[in-house]
């Protein structure tokens, strides 16, 4: 893990995921194995670490947000499994490991994604006794909205529909705002809900997360163009192979890098009201940017 990434939070997430997620000794084993194959395949845990860091900046006990943060990792993992399917991105590698459908077959991979998504809502609704039911309902509203047709799925659909076509930059923005950005923002928003943050702090954190989400995606495009399979853990150039429009194909590599840098700076500027406390979120923004350099 690179410098300054909040590894102690990532480790806490890994530990919680291990504790909370059902063992593969359950029946039928194959589906638990498939879910765990994708859930425990490394990764930065960016979304859940953001939840913890946002909770921290709002003075909310980070241990109390852990089930929600883990549920967000379930949702993220489910979306990766379905994205990788032959009918969608047809990716055979993810984080250097064979994707779920390569190991377990397409049928089990579809169902492993489905089950992870269900398990996310089960975890939140069954394990969050520390929080008020009103807040839990709001969290579920936010996460179901962010992952569905007005969020992740909507972005993915426009991405699919745009494949092989020249698209406007506004369409590309729609794709990324929804496909990637919305769940990143939701990771921060759940912390504002649980902490009962006021309007000003909520706005600051949501501004931060939307700039960060956009930068993250541009940098993903940069890495996908320039990177090597080994570095990315997935097949480099796979977006180009699928004829997808990216920030690079629309703006060129240099402009895309400048755009990413600008978004990172805007993300960091959004946090000024938090004073010194903003440091952990600044470090996450720096980490996201450093991936590209």
């Amino acid at each position: 893990m690179e410098n300054n990434y909040p590894d102690e939070k990532r480790i806490l997430i890994e530990k919680s995921l291990s504790e909370l997620f059902p063992s593969e000794d359950n029946y039928p084993q194959i589906i638990y194995k498939a879910m765990r194959h994708s859930l425990f395949s490394g990764g930065k845990r960016l979304r859940s670490v953001l939840s913890l860091s946002a909770a921290e900046i709002l003075d909310y006990d980070i241990h109390k947000i852990l089930p929600t943060a883990c549920a967000i990792e379930y949702i993220h993992t489910y979306s990766l499994i379905h994205d990788d399917l032959p009918a969608i991105d047809n990716d055979k590698l993810r984080r250097g490991k064979p994707t779920c459908h390569i190991v377990f077959g397409e049928d089990i991979a579809i169902l492993a994604g489905d089950a992870l998504f269900a398990e996310a809502f089960y975890l939140i609704s069954s394990r969050q006794e520390a929080d008020s039911p009103e807040k839990i309902v709001k969290i579920i509203e936010e996460l179901s909205d962010a992952s569905g047709v007005r969020g992740m799925v909507g972005g993915q659909v426009v991405d699919i529909e745009s494949t092989g076509k020249t698209i406007a930059s506004s369409t590309l923005e729609f794709i990324h705002k929804n496909k990637t950005g919305r769940l990143i923002s939701a990771s921060v928003k759940v912390a504002t809900i649980l902490a009962g943050a006021d309007e000003e702090k909520t706005k600051a954190l949501l501004d931060y997360s939307s700039h960060l989400g956009l930068a993250f995606q541009i940098i993903d495009d940069v890495l996908d163009t320039a990177g090597e399979t080994e570095l990315m853990g997935k097949e480099a150039g796979s977006d180009e192979r699928m004829l997808k429009s990216t920030y690079i194909s629309i703006f060129g590599l240099e402009k895309a890098k400048i755009h990413a840098k600008e978004e990172i700076e805007k993300a960091k500027d959004s946090l000024s009201i938090f004073g010194e406390r903003k440091q952990p979120l600044i470090e996450i923004a720096d980490f996201v940017y450093k991936r590209s350099s």
Copy 2:
């Protein structure tokens, strides 16, 4: 619709679905169209009608359970779309119409299922202001549990794993209890949660729903063996073509019919504590049985 089926409740569900479900004028249109193609393709609305009927028997306002009942139809529809996929059951017809992936492609069908599932939790968490948040959280816990790895998905996985094999009757029971039965039971359970039903009434209704769910599945097997494509609205014999074990392949047609009848009688007997009020649920049980005769 056959005699005695509570058509007024089915019509109320259709009306609510129309009101609650986002229009296909939203962007991106194709995903809304795909979701609506499968959601509004007729069907008995058995699960949501059960929710309304269980609410009624418990003296709970059936209008207040409508968002939850509609959400259960979203979940049921999502499961059908994914079941029909080429990688799973590879069904081209459903209720006499081409399945979602036939019309919209496999990628959009996967995502339409995903989005319907997300929308179910969004609907419950965003539209149920009439009910206490405690109860909403419990409903979400029940539905996410019933649709995930300990419910629908678990049953589907064992079904897939059993294809082409001779299986024990206990395995077949596991498949149906989870793949079909669990969501049917959840449709009744959500009513007991919202109505705050006591233990005795809750047990009676859950006994009813588990016997009904089993009968429903046996009758589905009977129809699939004996039925014609026109009658079933899906390709008859498709389970046999896929070499799946069914109640018929294990017990034979006549024994399966007797078993179904017994389960229907047990379902009806479970309701004795409700006296005259049980009538609507009795009629649903009779309707389920009549499908096979």
